[in-house]
């Protein structure tokens, strides 16, 4: 059986079976089982993709898996795996009145539709199918954001739906223009295949390519959360459950960035290659600086880390914009480390909110005293996301600064400024949350072991990556990106 088909089967099976399961505990376990199966098949698929020189194709070449896809498949399946295990404990501790029977089934089904559509985006060789899967991911995540049906959740979901609806519409305009630019050289379906587009890009009219890229960048950039298209992101994060936060920050933002990167690779074969890099640099720096300044005035825990996600997406965009092998290494290490650290933070925040019933930072005091395991894990996760050694983000940020110094030395000033402001903003806010002489009372949770091990696993991996950068995983991707071919 084709490894791509085999990999997609557990997600489809989960979408079909989970709406039928009425027992809450069984549904959570079945969801975790399918995520485990998906992760195991992902390992097989990634091994295939990494060992073969040619990409794997499936379904008339509409789906494919090259080394770039394989990297994101591994990361996404891992995040989905730990999230679904974390969900067992989280959902068990949720009030049965807010998360009643129907909502519970909705959650599991849409969780798997969300992960499935993201996997299809990664595996798409057809840029039309890529758009369809991205739209499906948007629709599924909107339902997940609005799950609790509070007035605030409705507002966040509505803003998300409208802004991302416009963004995804602009992306489709870009797709159509790109298809038109290619249609003289690649008739019919060929004009939608990324592998064909990247091979023949040099022949396409550059002005049309530039117009198409602007639409695609702005459209999919809305999903990345680039400034000034970021408005949906803090609201959606603050109102959704911890699992949705993990999937959004650990997977969805990366996927949107991957899609833009795929189009950047098409342009890298033309005379306007620097145009796409400039857009990455400009939007990356603006997002970094804006998010760093916004972090200073945040009062809610989830909003704080939502802006931190915008900041990190900015950093990754700068790395992709520079586009040297060292910058790509920094960028991809950052993607990996940010996903692991940020999802660990959101796991912790989920548990904290369940215990204290608030996410106002002024009401959260002395967590290391009242809930030592979660409190210390939260503090360590914050250190990881702040880029302190020995965590992996320290090295990715260091590599990024080195790559910037080599190519655009003047860029180091805004980059360092953004990093320093963000560091100070988060560091000053987490101190009183972690340590205080007047700790806040909390409600004990049951089965916390199940919610703690995913956090520790993520933290452990970021520490290991700090000592031993996973070059075996990153090197093939960087080679592919610098070559700019399939």
């Amino acid at each position: 059986m084709n490894p791509i088909l085999l990999f997609l089967i557990p997600s489809v099976a989960a979408i079909v079976t989970l709406p039928l399961i009425k027992n809450r505990r069984l549904a959570s376990n079945v969801s975790a089982f399918f995520s485990t199966l998906s992760f195991l098949f992902a390992i097989k698929l990634v091994m295939n993709a990494y060992t073969q020189s040619e990409p794997l194709f499936f379904f008339h070449q509409w789906l494919f898996c090259d080394k770039l896809s394989a990297f994101f498949i591994l990361l996404n399946s891992f995040i989905a795996l730990t999230t679904s295990f974390y969900a067992i404990s989280y959902l068990n501790n949720e009030s049965r009145t807010t998360l009643y029977y129907l909502i519970y089934r909705f959650y599991h089904t849409f969780f798997h539709i969300f992960t499935f559509s993201m996997l299809v985006v990664i595996l798409s060789n057809n840029i039309g199918l890529m758009w369809i899967a991205m739209e499906l991911a948007t629709i599924a995540s909107v339902v997940l954001v609005a799950l609790y049906q509070t007035s605030e959740a409705l507002e966040a979901a509505w803003k998300y739906l409208i802004l991302c609806g416009v963004g995804i519409g602009l992306a489709l305009l870009g797709t159509i223009i790109l298809y038109f630019a290619a249609h003289h050289y690649l008739p019919g379906e060929q004009g939608l295949l990324w592998t064909a587009l990247v091979t023949h890009a040099a022949k396409f009219p550059v002005k049309l390519l530039a117009v198409a890229f602007v639409f695609l960048f702005v459209g999919y950039g809305t999903k990345v959360g680039f400034f000034p298209l970021h408005n949906w992101l803090p609201d959606a994060y603050s109102e959704s459950s911890a699992m949705v936060n993990c999937l959004s920050s650990g997977a969805l933002l990366n996927i949107a960035l991957l899609v833009i990167l795929r189009f950047k690779l098409i342009l890298s074969h033309t005379v306007i290659a620097s145009f796409s890099s400039d857009l990455f640099l400009i939007f990356g720096l603006l997002s970094l600086l804006f998010a760093a300044l916004s972090l200073l005035r945040q009062r809610k825990l989830k909003r704080l880390f939502a802006y931190s996600s915008i900041e990190h997406m900015g950093l990754i965009s700068v790395a992709l914009g520079i586009g040297t092998p060292l910058a790509y290494l920094a960028g991809f290490l950052h993607i990996l480390m940010h996903s692991l650290s940020k999802s660990a933070i959101f796991f912790n925040i989920g548990s904290i909110i369940q215990r204290f019933h608030t996410q106002n930072m002024s009401q959260l005091k002395g967590l290391t005293t009242t809930i030592p395991v979660t409190g210390w894990c939260f503090l360590l996760c914050c250190f990881a996301i702040l880029g302190l050694p020995p965590f992996g983000l320290f090295f990715s940020e260091l590599l990024l600064i080195l790559a910037t110094l080599k190519t655009f030395p003047w860029l180091v000033i805004p980059l360092a400024l953004g990093l320093i402001i963000a560091f100070l903003a988060i560091f000053s806010k987490i101190q009183s949350i972690a340590f205080s002489s007047h700790p806040t009372e909390n409600q004990p949770l049951c089965n916390t072991r199940a919610s703690n091990w995913p956090v520790m696993l993520h933290l452990g991996l970021t520490v290991i990556a700090g000592f031993w950068i996973p070059t075996w995983l990153l090197q093939p991707v960087i080679h592919l990106l610098t070559q700019g071919t399939v």
Binding site: I132, E155, A156, L173, L208
Partner: protein, 216 residues
């Protein structure tokens, strides 16, 4: 026949301008339904000139979704939410109209830059479909009622279909089917949201949805 096609595209843009100025929600719904019908007529003419299986399938998908399913769902929703009497106050209509005109001029200038690559036959179609999508974005940003924002998104979808038909004589049919399906699901989710907002707040005005605004 080319002049008929251009005439139909121009009517679509005119309808978008009319929508910008409408204060009655029900009129907005009627105008978007008329725009859907004009879009389908455009595809019929295009299929007449360039008979191809792709375009005929695209036409069937557009007809089923945009002329039958969406208008039916919109009309039902309007009835259920009692939107027939609803009005929406618009601030500074002339400025709005002026911005719309500027957006059309901008797309014409942009298209002029790439006239050589697109060709004279398609350039007006290209620029007007782009202008229509810009007007849709203006409609979304200038409205404070949830239903009007949805209509803005539907106008944007119409512009995308128009651009796709003008430039490429449609996408491969399977892709087009997927897009149509996504739009339909998206609309259903929108509908559910409207119902939920209506039952929670008793109105569809977006001032009810401003709790999450950050205070400076």
């Amino acid at each position: 026949m080319t002049s008929v096609l251009l005439f139909l595209i121009s009517i679509m843009v005119m309808l978008s301008f009319l929508m910008l100025m409408q204060i009655h929600v029900i009129n907005l719904i009627k105008l978007v339904i008329i725009q859907n019908i004009i879009l389908t007529s455009y595809l019929v003419c295009k299929a007449w000139i360039y008979p191809s299986l792709e375009l005929q399938l695209s036409l069937s998908i557009t007809f089923i979704i945009k002329v039958i399913l969406l208008p039916w769902a919109l009309w039902k929703l309007a009835g259920y939410l009692k939107l027939k009497q609803h009005t929406e106050s618009l601030i500074n209509k002339p400025t709005l109209q002026f911005i719309g005109i500027l957006l059309v001029i901008f797309t014409l200038i942009l298209s002029h830059q790439i006239e050589n690559t697109i060709g004279q036959q398609d350039i007006i179609g290209f620029s007007l479909s782009l202008a229509n999508s810009m007007l849709a974005i203006l409609l979304i940003t200038s409205r404070r009622k949830a239903i009007s924002q949805i209509i803005g998104l539907l106008v944007m979808e119409n512009s995308i279909f128009l651009l796709s038909a003008t430039l490429n004589i449609g996408f491969p049919w399977l892709v087009e089917l997927g897009m149509g399906f996504d739009i339909l699901i998206g609309f259903m989710i929108f509908g559910l949201f409207l119902l939920r907002i209506h039952t929670t707040h008793g109105s569809l005005h977006l001032k009810n949805l401003e709790k999450l605004k950050e205070k400076l």
